[in-house]
């Protein structure tokens, strides 16, 4: 089947198997390997991308379901001038990552939280991260980073 979509601002058109997942399409077809796959049960959130501006788990959508959509991956989050997105910058400031494997999903989810809930507090952010697993950080720096970025978004 044909799938035509925009990924990080670039128009893409490919023929893919209907069963191909969006995560596989991004990683294997487009070699955008920043989007990670950490589980096979939609639990870990490593694969989160933005589909028409909203966070989705790309392991739980078929590539063809993204037909006609705009997809942003971690590679496309920073400004075209290379300036980090505020959530990326906050992750660095608050040591919100160690091994980095869950990070793309955490950052994409964080950006979604900040967009939806400017000023989100610690408790809200922890609740919102139900679908993201990190094994390294104890979530401390991740939550601090998102709360900080959410505060900046309100001000």
């Amino acid at each position: 089947m044909n799938v035509t979509l925009t990924v990080n601002g670039q128009a893409i058109s490919r023929d893919v198997e209907p069963r191909m997942l969006l995560a596989e399409f991004l990683r294997d077809e487009l070699r955008l390997t920043g989007t990670h796959v950490g589980c096979d049960t939609t639990q870990c959130g490593c694969c989160i991308v933005h589909l028409d501006g909203e966070a989705v788990k790309s392991c739980t959508l078929f590539a063809v379901q993204a037909d006609g959509s705009k997809v942003t991956t971690i590679e496309g989050l920073a400004g075209t001038d290379g300036a980090l997105h505020p959530v990326q910058a906050a992750f660095r400031e608050h040591h919100g990552l160690q091994c980095g494997f869950c990070t793309p999903g955490m950052v994409m989810m964080g950006a979604d939280i900040v967009r939806r809930i400017p000023g989100a507090d610690d408790e809200t952010v922890r609740h919102e991260l139900e679908g993201n697993i990190c094994r390294c950080t104890g979530y401390q720096g991740i939550v601090e980073a998102i709360v900080d970025a959410a505060a900046q978004a309100r001000s």
């Binding site: 950490g38 992750f91 660095r92 494997f101 990070t103 094994r135």
Partner: protein, 780 residues
Amino acid sequence: MGQFGIGQPVRRKEDIRLLTGKGRYTDDVHVDGQVWAAFVRSPHAHADIRGIDIAAALESPGVTHVFTGADLEAGGVQPLLYDLPFKDRNGKPMFKPARRILPTDRARFGGEPLALVLAETAEQAKAGAELVEIDFEPLPCVTSTARAGDPDAPVLYPEHGSNVAVHWENRAPDEIDALIAGAAHKVSVDLVNNRLVVAPMEPRCAVADYDAASDVITLYTPTQGIMTMQTAFAALLNIPKNKLRIVAQDVGGGFGIRSKRYPESIAVAWAAKKIGRPVKWRGDRSETFVSDYHGRDQVNHAVMGLDRDGRVLALRLETIVNVGGYCGDNGPRLPIDGGGRIIPCGYDIEKFYFSVKPVYTNTVPTDTYRGAGRPEANFIMERLMDAAADATGLSRIEVRRRNLIPTSKLPYRTQMDFVYDSGDFIGTMDMTVKEADWDGFAARRAESEKRGKLRGIGIASFVEQAGGRPTEEMRVKLEADGSATVYAGTFSHGQGHETVYAQMVEDFLGIPFDQVKLVQGDSDTTPVGGIGTFGSRSSMMGGVAIRRSCNQIIIKGKRIAAHLLQAEESQVRFEEGLFKVNVSSVSIQEVARAAADPSKLPEGMKAGLDENYLFEREPDAMNFPNGCHICEVEVDPDLGIVQIVKYTAVDDCGVVLNPLLVHGQVYGGVAQGIGQALTEDAVYDETSGQLLAGSFMDYGMPRAHHFPHMVAHFNESQPCKTNDLGVKGAGEAGACGAPPAFVSAVVDALSPYGVKHIDMPLTPERVWRAIADAKSKRAA
């Protein structure tokens, strides 16, 4: 000390790459022409294999090859053998059978790999694997740690006749038993240290590429130590070390198990050479659950005798550790001379008996997981201390105070022959008690009660050991442009070495932080004496090797500077990046430039400033990180749900190289400890031997909402005395402190019901049942 020097909370160099999707993990490796691998795994926990028929799989679309253990062994692949020297008191050695890479005769745990299918696509390989027909004769199985040694338990190795690999003891128990029998107070605990799935976020993968011209196999795989893996894997493949190149760029978490030998990686590496095409295997998460080593899994029975004043007279400890279907590289070692050797942790107890029985069961083999025996040891000691407080009527703080080794007794040689060089166990506990506002707890409890919640507070004092294997090699090279490159034998997989090592080089040589580059992760460039990153060893072992490499650079630099300044070498001082003679000086950058130019060097000196140092410490001169953690919880008595509301940690990690990163290690370790104590349990069905908690759907990975905002401090008054930097390992302390502090807190919350202990994990069901049982006992 500059803004980027040692002790500063420097933001990480690695972050920009990892935050923008530019990390390169094993699954990101694609080699043109690669075929995909899939493994056929045993669906049975225990079964004889009567035959393997690969004909149908070979006919499957896209399948290029199917291999079994017979093919691998005909190709020279060796079985896993284990360097485990343990004997019983009569001198009978431990039973430690070899593990075949792909067995053809018997499967001993569900998920064990039995055949390898290669195909043009990943889907075709998986479809082909479905068509491999294995004729199994299922056998009765055993998964229970406590029951594996029973006389009627199904036996995994008939040639041994029992599942007990060895009954190891540190001494005869008689004197200890007599002391306990005569003690004023006697306390005992029966504990289950639950089996855990380690689950680094990156599932395990392997990509192998064979170059016929050089006869070299390149294996891309997550690891924690490049050269250790090269040595081990070359031996298993039966090829010289220089014919196997190991490459790992970014690794998505390790926690001990990524340092191990795995059959899948060996099979993939062998197959790439056999078929002359690159081979890629991407393990999915469910597959990783049944093929990565698991962690913990002990049952402990411990008895302690105390005098009238609450001082411990003697301790008797019996441990059974479930090593799974095969040994594991370290599984049986962990409670004996691995982490378990830390018994009795921070307490001044000279008389103890300590027995360990490793048992084989039809489960995934267990091995090192964050703490590797120390969390288990500290959990036992802390549950005993809480029991001792209960028996003596002393507070939990006071009974610890009376038994902790006072700083005045240091250096302190334990009965297991560790020498604690530094530490302030009582002072650290006092700091934590103050920081956690222990004295204000009663008011907080009353406030919780008003909301219908039971509040509890728990404390754990712990000591662990860090440093691991006693050698490590690092290389520091100054480039002609004045920058520096560190070639590491260690392997950063989340710890932030790119940052910390650069801080060190800035401090030691005065080369700016952003001019220091880290090279790691390729056996072609890693120092040959490299070991790796596990056992919280990189700060000490890697750090000292960097310090001494830098010292060698300074010595050589002084000779060059003396030549350039036309002075005597003995007149040259090195301060903050400058070689000085009286009022004249040359910078280290100028010296580096000169070093690259033979015409500017003293006669006979080799060009370049490029030094490596193989640090060899006394094997037992480890370091002993320690600390005290206090946890506060609220329990909903109707639902059994436990919420952690406050967590305070004070850690003695010696000299803190980068507080931002060390705090990260503490929080991460605490989270894994809380995971064990609150949500995680690798549950097996005892009848079928199937892993019931086999995916993130069923296994309780802790989430962000399980934690409060934690508070961590350091007691930096006790630098380590056995290494040049004064550092102590920081990676595993959190996992030691959290489980006992948490369980202590929940039991304290349930004290109105007389609950004394609940086995981990303290799920709502278990907590609710403990309350319900206590209520019904009272009513009866």
